[in-house]
Symmetry: C2
DNA sequence: ACTTGGCACTCGGGAACACAGAGTGCTAGA
DNA sequence: TCTAGCACTCTGTGTTCCCGAGTGCCAAGT
């Protein structure tokens, strides 16, 4: 049904439309890409492609524009991820290398990705799931209040103020801290609930109320912050682009963690570093936009996702190349720290 | 030069223009606000106001629109800050009360303010300047690397990974930690540099290289993070509004910490809780936008600034009321924690 | 001295219209 | 199966025209 030439025509249409933002006609197509056939022949092929739903025409007498299905075929079979220039690679490396802590790594990454792709970049903070407890700190603020600080081996720090049910002396707080650390140090975060389950019973009765309160906050922290936090950058790049959905909707989605989470999607468990591309209406949460995302993290320790969001009419090969490259570099940085 | 009626006309023009977004003519004006004078009289007043530069007309035959100078007069002399409804107050209180830590307070505040004003809200993190050291923690990551965690009485936590010049045993790290805490606990952050200046000399020679490295990172953290971090929310509210400056420029400014910092402006030292209003061209960094901001923080402890950014054509009384109310509530929350 | 009604003037924006140009589909011929 | 030619259909643009809102000014009224 679709011979090689028809595919070549589709590819040419996508490329031209992406670069010019104007419906592409048979004549211009036959000229610019040396297809060695006449415009009339191209027209026939276009008619066939339209019949199959890969392209469409905005009005009766205009050129053709790819449909979501057309972009899909283009991404799957007609294009290959474009690697970055060596200058870009170096820029990435030096830019990311200057990061001082996890926050900084994430901030730099999201900005870098936005600048590189000229789209909106979205980065999820590395999940706690696979990380392990490095240290638990309890700092007395006053006799009814302590600050709980949880430090993980990925460099992440979570803090919470805990209101105690009764006054507790500093010495007993220190004792609790020692017990907690003895119990949890080096353990995976996912196993924390099991490990602390019977902890109160092993304590002196007078320590139990405080311990229970603190532990419940600790568990809450683990659950609530669990792969919740997502940041974005490059909203300014939305100014030029036109989405079929309103600009307002896109901006609203960007500020909703939950929506962003869904946009980035799930990491496929078997091939975590594979690029996910969702095109236009394939994307159930924000039609009219495309998302290119991938998992990142060190080694077999898949931690989180990052990607970019842009209009359906985007340069997929370049965007995919940038996303893949950034994901690799940031994984590398994380592994080293 | 400007009698009471002319001022009333100016006020009416501002109010009408803000609510309708259309140049307001003499006839509609005389009708809607019962000025008890004829349109012709109003026209004369308008001519005078235009002469003085308070209003202008987009085209020869259109109504009048306030100039920046007109808005300025309106804000300074013709309007009064509109208090929030009691329902809004309750909403603020309950929304802010649920915050679990400083991060959460700031995030909730900025979202609340955006929603309340339907503008872009901007909140600066409370400065470290006036806070005191609650605890310093050193966590060995491996023998050449420790994590430095600084906890302040405002609930803020700063962390940094420190690369040591030589391998250091855990016991010596613990010793350093004890020394640091003994030296710094409860001290104001601004006095930290003085307090640690001669610290290395008081240590055993073999501890000095590590101590120097750690201290330099500590000082760096204090300087760099010093009132740097600013967050915003409500970018979606930009979608409808029209600025004389491009939407792109506004979005770019929002992602530039430095620009945001300047937009929020300085807190006047004598009356820190005063509302700052910068209108249109008064604002040197982003013409065509207005900023309503104020300082916030507990008691005499002025900590940081918050505010909103919107088009020059905004409802100043309402916006100012919301900014003032939110600043008060968040100050209250911070004082209590 | 201010206010008011009347009046001529200006200009923006919408409707109606024509037109050129790009692009298409179809058909007949190579 | 490809190509050339041709008639057709649109959109976008430029032009013209006209309506109406709004103004400024002047002369009369209070």
């Amino acid at each position: 049904m679709l011979d090689d030439r028809k595919l070549a025509v589709l590819r040419a249409i996508v490329e031209d439309y992406v670069s010019t933002n104007e419906p592409v006609g048979s004549k211009a197509l036959a000229e610019r890409h040396n297809l060695k056939v006449s415009p009339a022949t191209v027209r026939n092929d276009m008619a066939a492609l339209e019949e199959e739903g890969y392209i469409t025409q905005p009005h009766t007498s205009a050129g053709r524009v790819p449909t979501d299905k057309g972009y899909r075929l283009f991404v799957d079979r007609l294009s290959q991820v474009k690697p970055l220039s060596s200058a870009e690679r170096r820029a990435i490396e030096t830019f990311l290398a200057g990061a001082v802590d996890l926050d900084d790594v994430v901030t730099r990454t999201v900005r870098l990705l936005a600048q590189l792709t000229r789209q909106v970049a979205v980065v999820q903070y590395p999940t706690l799931t696979r990380s392990t407890v490095r240290h638990v700190e309890l700092v007395p603020l006053n006799d009814r209040r302590v600050m709980l600080v949880l430090i993980t081996n990925t460099g992440r720090v979570e803090q919470r103020v805990v209101e105690l049910p009764e006054a507790v002396e500093d010495a007993r707080v220190a004792h609790l801290r020692a017990v907690l650390n003895a119990c949890l140090d080096g353990c995976g975060l996912t196993s924390v609930p099991d490990l602390v389950a019977d902890l109160p019973e092993r304590l002196a009765p007078e320590d139990r109320p405080a311990a229970v309160t603190i532990l419940s906050v600790l568990l809450e922290t683990l659950v609530e912050r669990h792969d919740e936090k997502i940041v974005f950058a490059g909203a300014a790049n939305l100014a030029g682009a036109d989405f079929s959905v309103g600009l307002r909707d896109v901006l609203e989605a960007l500020e909703e963690q939950v929506v962003l989470m869904r946009l980035l999607g799930e990491t496929s468990t078997d091939t975590p570093s594979a690029l996910t591309v969702r095109i236009g209406s394939e994307n159930p949460y924000l039609r009219g936009t495309s998302v290119v995302a991938t998992g990142y993290g060190s080694g077999d320790n898949q931690l989180a996702r990052l990607g970019v969001l842009g209009p359906t009419r985007m340069d997929y090969p370049v965007t995919m190349g940038a996303v893949r490259a950034v994901a690799r570099y940031v994984s590398q940085i994380l592994a080293a720290s």
